[in-house]
């Protein structure tokens, strides 16, 4: 089965190639963005170096503040809903309740649907005369009928619901994999010692799940900060910019308004925020597991 004669050679090839791709396609464009973020440039004319002006302009741009607030709201609500939902589903299905395979497939299925398609499906359901409103109407709940994607206080949460619907199955699978690694004998020992379900969960299962949790949190943070496709396909940041997130604002500045410097400044901020969250979290989470 060995393809390579020496481990060292195998390591160089297997790590070197991904590293090369990473450098060419990820690191280099990222560095380039940092460079462009110091320019005023429309993509065609001579770029002007303006130092940190794009960043100071961002701080006084109310749209940027809306977008970053929406990202934070998104991070917490989408993060908490999808992590808790995924965990609850994983715990329930891990017990192998009747028909668990069907449930697992059903909850995991949305992940096969891209965020764009998810957005279109939910946009159709959330439409003023879509299935949600007609359903509410049919059940005598007319007072709950809402312009889901058209009301400024509701639209963002409607998108969060759609995004969570897709994400929960994914988180569930990550936790299910983690649960397989939980030592059953410790759980049994705790049961024998008289620990109830919540005590077993709190003191035995969750600590053993910590490595999965670290992955789940990192994935969720990254997904939250870079969320774009579902917002774009559902509202394009509207109505009246109330669902703008950093990435949709970046897209609009770059490809709608051709402000490539300003858009790159937003990209740099997304990068820093994501890296910040993830690095801080992993530094706190991982050493504990490896001890």
């Amino acid at each position: 089965m060995r393809l390579f004669r020496g481990d060292r050679f195998a390591a160089i090839v297997m790590l070197g190639l991904p590293l090369l791709f990473e450098l060419v396609w990820v690191m280099w464009p990222a560095l380039q963005s940092i460079g462009i973020s110091t320019l005023r440039w429309n993509g065609t004319s001579e770029p002007t170096f303006i130092g940190g002006e794009n960043f100071t302009n961002l701080l006084s741009d109310p749209l940027f503040l809306t977008a970053i607030t929406n990202n934070v709201k998104w991070l917490f609500v989408f993060g908490i809903l999808s992590v808790l939902g995924g965990l609850a589903l994983a715990l329930a299905l891990h017990e192998q309740i009747k028909g668990w395979k069907i449930y697992r497939t059903a909850f995991f299925a949305p992940i096969a649907v891209s965020f764009v398609v998810t957005g279109f499906i939910w946009k159709w359901m959330f439409a003023p005369t879509g299935v949600i409103n007609t359903g509410l109407d049919a059940f005598g709940l007319e007072h709950l009928v809402t312009n889901w994607l058209g009301e400024e206080d509701v639209a963002l949460w409607s998108i969060v619901v759609a995004a969570t619907w897709r994400q929960v199955g994914y988180i569930m699978i990550l936790f299910l994999a983690g649960l397989k690694a939980v030592d059953l004998s410790t759980v049994e020992a705790a049961t024998v010692d008289g620990a109830n379900y919540w005590q077993r969960l709190r003191h035995v299962v969750l600590p053993a799940l910590a490595p999965s949790t670290a992955t789940v949190v990192a994935v969720t943070v990254i997904d939250s900060m870079r969320t774009f496709d579902i917002v774009w396909s559902m509202t394009q940041g509207g109505p009246f910019n109330t669902t703008q997130v950093l990435s949709t604002l970046m897209w609009r500045e770059a490809f709608g308004n051709y402000n490539l410097g300003y858009a790159s400044a937003i990209a740099v901020i997304i990068l820093l925020l994501t890296l910040g969250f993830v690095i801080v979290y992993l530094l706190r989470a991982i050493p504990k597991d490896t001890k």
């Binding site: 001579e46 005369t129 058209g150 509207g238 109505p239 009246f240 609009r252 308004n257 051709y258």
Partner: protein, 450 residues
């Protein structure tokens, strides 16, 4: 791997080489002038024997045309048929590449400034194209105009001319904006077409008491639909000159003139479909199609289902101040070429064909109620509705494009949000809307260094 490096390389170059672009473009302009005065000797007689107007043999030089489509319509890009006809008639080679309009929009600066650009590009007349022209990025097509387009309307020529007097744009088709309605609904309810603002508001009121949604509209993902209302109100109240100056940033969006616009806007605002912000513009038209709504302000591109082809009509946006002449919006589409093109002469040869009535007919054939830019397209090619639309524009005192095409995309996005929000929320939100709009406009102007 070479592909990767090359790809990266061109992206960097498009930035770093920006300075060189001006030089290159002036070189190709020179080249254009030189060959224009010394007609090429035809090397292939086959092409010339075809009997077409083509004088230049471009059978060995493929002209690449980058166009866009709005997708989802399922209709074939008319550009393919145009190119096939041209190839068949002249033996010259043309290659068409069509992408989704959003992809096109995002790639446009790269297309025009690249060292190896598509030869011809389909785009909209107005600020973006003019900006490229003023930067020297576009090919001078003045000789196409002087040799083949002398009979085109002066307004279209002005629209295609840069500040130095050179033409850079070949218009192919345009459409009009107006208030559309279904005559059968008007007949059944005994409504008559309003010509003044008071009649218009009165009609909306009547429609509401008759159980109709007076004004159909959807602005989700298409807030520009709302801006049509602002454009027309401003044109009717403050006139074209003020409108243009406002869009250049010479007046405040928080000033007395714009407030006057919103006073009138507020009179009609209660009659808009309350779902406006939650539905897309196509969905917003459904109530009109289903006879649940009375009217809508829309461009001639609105999809007209076959069964109502004889039951749709329009009237001009009503007069508000009789002393202000009637101005209409007529967005125009067409082609320009990159100054960096390798084959300026063959591109212009193809552009001359694009200006013919034969080619322009293809563009308007399956795309709603569009009007060909070439005035020699015979009347009977147009539906009754389109002929009426053409006359509606011909009788206008002045023509504007549309908010975003008359100003810039950057200036238009805050306007779109402001107007869509006003339609959804009305007077209660007005102060916030105007101050945010003005602040956004000031930021854009500051960035542009004005």
């Amino acid at each position: 791997m070479s592909l990767v490096i090359k790809k990266r390389g061109t992206t960097i170059n498009s930035g770093k080489a920006a300075g060189a672009i001006a030089l290159l473009s002036s070189l190709s302009l020179l080249a254009g002038c030189a060959t224009a005065t010394t007609p090429e000797t035809p090397t292939s007689s086959a092409a010339n024997n075809s009997g077409s107007a083509s004088a230049l043999d471009c059978s060995a030089e493929t002209v690449s045309i980058q166009t866009w489509n709005v997708g989802a319509s399922g209709a074939e890009d008319p550009m393919n048929a145009v190119a096939e006809n041209y190839i068949a008639a002249t033996g010259n080679l043309v290659e068409v590449n069509s992408v989704n309009v959003e992809v096109f929009r995002s790639q446009l600066p790269t297309y025009v400034s690249s060292n190896n650009p598509p030869d011809g590009l389909k785009w909209l007349a107005g600020s973006t194209s003019r900006g490229f022209a003023e930067e020297g990025l576009l090919l001078d097509v003045s000789d196409v105009w002087s040799e083949h387009m002398a009979d085109f309307p002066a307004g279209l020529k002005a629209l295609s001319t840069d500040s130095t007097g050179k033409q850079y744009f070949i218009p192919t088709n345009y459409y009009w904006w107006a208030v559309f309605y279904r005559p059968s609904v008007f007949e059944e309810n005994g409504y008559s077409v309003p010509t003044t603002w008071d009649d218009f508001v009165g009609l909306a009121q009547q429609m509401e008491s008759d159980g109709l949604t007076p004004i159909a509209i959807g602005t989700s993902g298409a807030e520009w639909v709302a801006t049509a209302w602002f454009d027309y109100l401003n044109l009717r109240i403050n006139g074209a000159q003020f409108h243009r100056e406002l869009l250049e940033g010479k007046h405040s969006f928080n000033g007395p003139e714009v407030r006057e616009v919103f006073e009138k806007f507020a009179e009609i605002q209660p009659y808009f479909d309350p779902n406006s912000a939650g539905q897309e513009w196509q969905a917003g038209l459904q109530p009109l199609y289903n006879k649940q709504a009375g009217m809508t302000l829309m461009g001639g591109f609105l999809p007209i289902p076959e069964e109502m082809a004889n039951d749709i009509d329009f009237f001009a946006f009503p007069t508000i101040d009789p002393s202000i002449p009637r101005v209409e919006e007529a967005p125009t589409d067409g082609f320009f070429a990159s100054a960096n093109t390798d084959s300026p002469e063959c591109t212009k040869e193809f552009f001359a064909y694009l200006a013919t009535a034969e080619a322009q007919l293809k563009f308007i054939e399956n795309s709603g109620a569009q009007i060909a830019a070439n005035p020699s397209v015979p009347d009977d090619y147009y539906s009754e509705l389109t002929r009426k639309g053409r006359d509606h524009l011909a009788g206008a005192a002045d023509i504007t494009q549309f908010y975003d095409r008359d100003s810039s995309q950057e200036f238009a996005t805050p306007a779109n949000a402001a107007n869509a929000r006003f339609i959804a929320q009305g007077e209660a939100a007005l102060e916030e809307i105007l101050s945010e709009w003005q602040a956004a406009a000031e930021r854009v102007l500051a960035e542009q260094g004005n």
